[in-house]
């Protein structure tokens, strides 16, 4: 049986005691936060890097930072935006390593490009793999835009604040990014985008 893990968005009030306990080294509090947010953080890293193994590493690094620096996270504010910023930084660091980048590109290129609907978990994973592979071919700045818009569903002003770019340029940059992504997906066989 393939039981799917669910991500429950916690309120800042629910997170506060967990973060405080986590700062004291409480394993159970850390585990609760991990189980709530890991799936989302991993998916975000996967979309940003394009390789599930490298994304797993980046997501785990983000959680290790949370565990080590929980005392420096403001418990009155929602945790996920903090985790998001950390994982984006982790992914950028991962992509800086040239050798690791090449090895990752080779792994991603070897992955199959399935044509599946997202009706069941296996198909959902396959569909996600195709998009992840296409995203991995985009320049990182454009990939981050797409991921923040589609996976994180942020507004343009929030994207601008997260990436440190002028709000007025988000729409035109998204246009360029989507145009390139569409070309890549068409090349990978997404006929419905022609």
């Amino acid at each position: 049986m393939n039981t799917q893990a669910t991500t429950v968005t916690m309120t800042a009030d629910a997170e506060q005691p967990l973060l405080e306990a986590c700062a004291r080294g409480d394993r159970r509090a850390f585990e609760t936060l991990f189980r709530n947010y890991f799936g989302r953080v991993h998916r975000l890293a996967w979309a940003l890097i394009g390789d599930r193994d490298a994304a797993l590493d980046a997501a785990q690094n983000a959680f290790l930072k949370l565990y080590r620096h929980a005392d420096r996270v403001d418990p009155r504010r929602p945790l996920f935006p903090w985790l998001r910023a950390i994982v984006i930084r982790e992914c950028r660091m991962q992509q800086r390593g040239e050798r690791r980048r090449r090895a990752r590109e080779e792994r991603v290129a070897r992955q199959a490009v399935p044509h599946a609907s997202a009706a069941d978990p296996v198909a959902a994973r396959e569909a996600a793999e195709r998009v992840a592979r296409a995203l991995s071919e985009l320049p990182s700045a454009e990939r981050e835009l797409i991921v923040l818009k589609h996976l994180e569903e942020l507004r343009y002003v929030e994207i601008a604040a997260t990436l440190g770019i002028p709000a007025g340029t988000v729409m035109s940059r998204l246009y360029q990014a989507r145009r390139k992504l569409r070309e890549i997906l068409v090349r990978l066989g997404a006929e419905e985008l022609r």
Binding site: N2, T3, Q4, A5, T7, R27, F30, E31, F34, R35, F38, G39, H42, R43, W46, A47, L56, A59, Q60, L64, K65, Y67, R68, R72, V73, D74, R77, P78, P81, W82, A85, I86, A118, P121, A124, R125, A127, A128, V131, A132, L135, I146, K149, H150, L151, R155, Y156, A161, T162, M171, S172, L174, Y175, R178, L181, R182, L185, A190, E192, L193
Partner: protein, 151 residues
């Protein structure tokens, strides 16, 4: 109303699909899409693209995978604590060893002066480097980057 090219309308189409345009801009885009077959096709294509990318959000880890990832992460966290304790122990023991060894060295009258001066300078250099590293670390801690993360 401003006259725009199809390329300009396609940029605006992004804001239209993302719900980021005001009422006037929305009306302008809709009017153009109804009169331009190419831009209308572009709209359909980008709607498909958006759906395809958003499908990534439907993918979730299985409970079993999540259990495994949790165990890996916790192991890494524990190893971090282990390395910290090991490092602290190693520094204490090395410090004690150096102290004991140097006590004999400094009191031994057979050791030439030049060797003592060299060893003293080397030891002082290591101490200066250590103090500098600790000071830098403390400064970085004050400007802790994780506290500056925007939320």
């Amino acid at each position: 109303m401003m006259l725009r090219s199809c390329e300009e309308y396609r940029v605006l189409l992004m804001g239209y699909l993302d719900g980021e345009l005001d009422a006037t801009q929305r009306a302008e885009v809709e009017k153009h899409i109804h009169s331009c077959a190419d831009c209308s096709a572009e709209r359909g294509s980008y709607e498909n693209l958006n759906r395809m990318v958003q499908a990534m959000n439907t993918y979730t880890e299985s409970e079993r995978a999540l259990d495994r990832y949790w165990q890996q992460t916790w192991n890494r966290a524990e190893r971090g604590i282990g390395w910290f304790l090991f490092g602290a122990g190693a520094i204490l023991l090395t410090g004690y060893g150096v102290f004991e060894a140097s006590r004999e060295f400094w009191t031994d009258p057979t050791v030439p002066l030049i060797v003592r001066i060299g060893a003293g300078a080397g030891g002082l250099g290591v101490l200066v480097l250590l103090v500098s590293l600790v000071r830098e670390r403390l400064m970085l801690r004050k400007k802790e980057r994780y506290t500056e993360v925007e939320r």
